[in-house]
Symmetry: C2
């Protein structure tokens, strides 16, 4: 089953457009996980088990593992996801971008080593920096288009032939890089009008949308701008708001994460 098919099935099975981001910042983990040798793995495993029924995808952010030399724990997390929840797409968020020979090594990292269904990539180095990923025909390539951070505008909003650069990226991916139907785009929730502009360019192509939760994006505006005719088409990511949800009543961190994930899923579904 290829990435897009798997994603469509996960949207339906869990009635969810919520992508749960796994950004395990060691300083914010519950205290019992901070000093354990596999504390990051154990923490992420509990988050995964608590939210798997509510998510259309899981997205580990590799930077948090790389900073701590914890690639081994990321391998275990990915193996656990593939084994316990094989129907939920696993997206490796690594935003790689390099010349062809090097990109092939990064594709091996994402697809063979971690077994990811899809990987995020940067478009700055152009076509031959993404082509090597396409050799894994059942996997997905999620290209940065309009990012959710303030500095995103520095380049992405520069005007090229009367249109901002990010729209050229969307067009390039829709017209060329998506020839095999393996592509998706990253478009931040902090810019709903721009989600709409991208949706108009790319038709039914899936969008990975970071920026709700801790980054402050508006869920209603995001969903209205990004939904396809079938009311799907989006992986709306929340990381920190779920991972570090404040427990209420007798909740532990995992129950709090589940509650916030469920609230987010419902808030999204209210506007589909």
């Amino acid at each position: 089953m290829n990435f897009i098919t798997k994603l469509n099935a996960a949207w339906a099975a869990n009635d969810s457009l919520l992508c749960v981001g796994l950004d395990p910042d060691i300083e914010r983990l519950p205290v019992q996980f901070r000093d354990a040798p596999d504390g990051i793995y154990q923490f992420c495993k509990e988050i995964i088990d608590a939210t798997a029924g509510l998510a259309c995808a899981f997205k580990p952010q590799i930077a948090y593992f790389a900073a701590l030399a914890a690639e081994g724990q990321l391998e275990r997390i990915c193996a656990y996801l593939r084994e316990a929840y094989p129907h939920i797409p696993l997206i490796l968020d690594s935003k790689r971008g390099d010349i062809g020979a090097t990109a092939k090594q990064y594709a091996r990292e994402a697809y063979d080593r971690y077994g990811a269904d899809a990987v995020t990539v940067s478009p700055y180095m152009g076509s031959d920096s993404v082509e090597p990923y396409m050799e894994w025909q059942d996997r997905g390539v999620i290209v940065l288009c309009r990012t959710s951070n303030p500095g995103g505008s520095d380049l992405q909003f520069l005007q090229v032939d009367g249109k901002p650069l990010y729209q050229h990226v969307a067009q390039l991916v829709a017209d060329k890089w998506n020839a095999n139907g393996q592509c998706a785009l990253v478009v931040g929730a902090t810019f709903p009008e721009e989600i709409r502009a991208v949706r108009d360019i790319v038709g039914e192509m899936p969008l990975l949308i970071p920026g709700i939760g801790a980054q402050g994006g508006d869920i209603e505006a995001t969903v209205r701008a990004g939904r396809t005719t079938s009311g799907t088409g989006m992986m709306i990511n929340s990381s920190r708001a779920i991972l570090y949800a404040k427990p209420q009543g007798g909740e532990d961190f995992a129950a709090a994460a589940r509650r916030v994930a469920e609230e987010t899923r419902q808030a999204i579904n209210a506007h589909r």
Copy 2:
């Protein structure tokens, strides 16, 4: 000693603008290294020892290590470089680019974990994706500007206000991101006229120039276009042509690497 000072000293000490790239493709290593548990480390160590007197920098490409789950060997290579050749800058080639909170993790990876003097980054996500690196005030940030690969033109050559995008990146780095004097730029040897255009924009800022050797860039044209008034200003990278140099006579791989590195250093110096 900060990155730029260290680089200036290395240019002078070894009379060299040659950067030796460490891209250990397991399939191309001499057979004795392919199956050894630390074969990549041993291979790179021999290349480093053979070329350290001829190089102004070493640049490991992390993708080759990540594909093989060999980050531990990269850590050992970096530790060896810092210990045995502390006067030669260590550049981690990882081309990261992410939102601020994530970029900080990548900065930790490059500077704290691997002890790199500088790291390559992508500009696509803008200012807050590079600012976190600047907190390590003695380190360098090398921003992708005009890359050496064919697809580099897809975005970098788009016209913005009558100038190609890569020149806007050069201007942005020169005017803003380089406020603390920590920046350098990547400009490919495959486009000497564009090296000249970037040099005109950025003054004395160092340029990391890949694309000679296996990628076919012209050394004379590169040096004439990129040199500063002092005849330096460049880290001209060669990876595969040195690592996999064909032995002549009774040479082993390391002697062949040293010979090609010396030839390249001299070919560069002939035009400074």
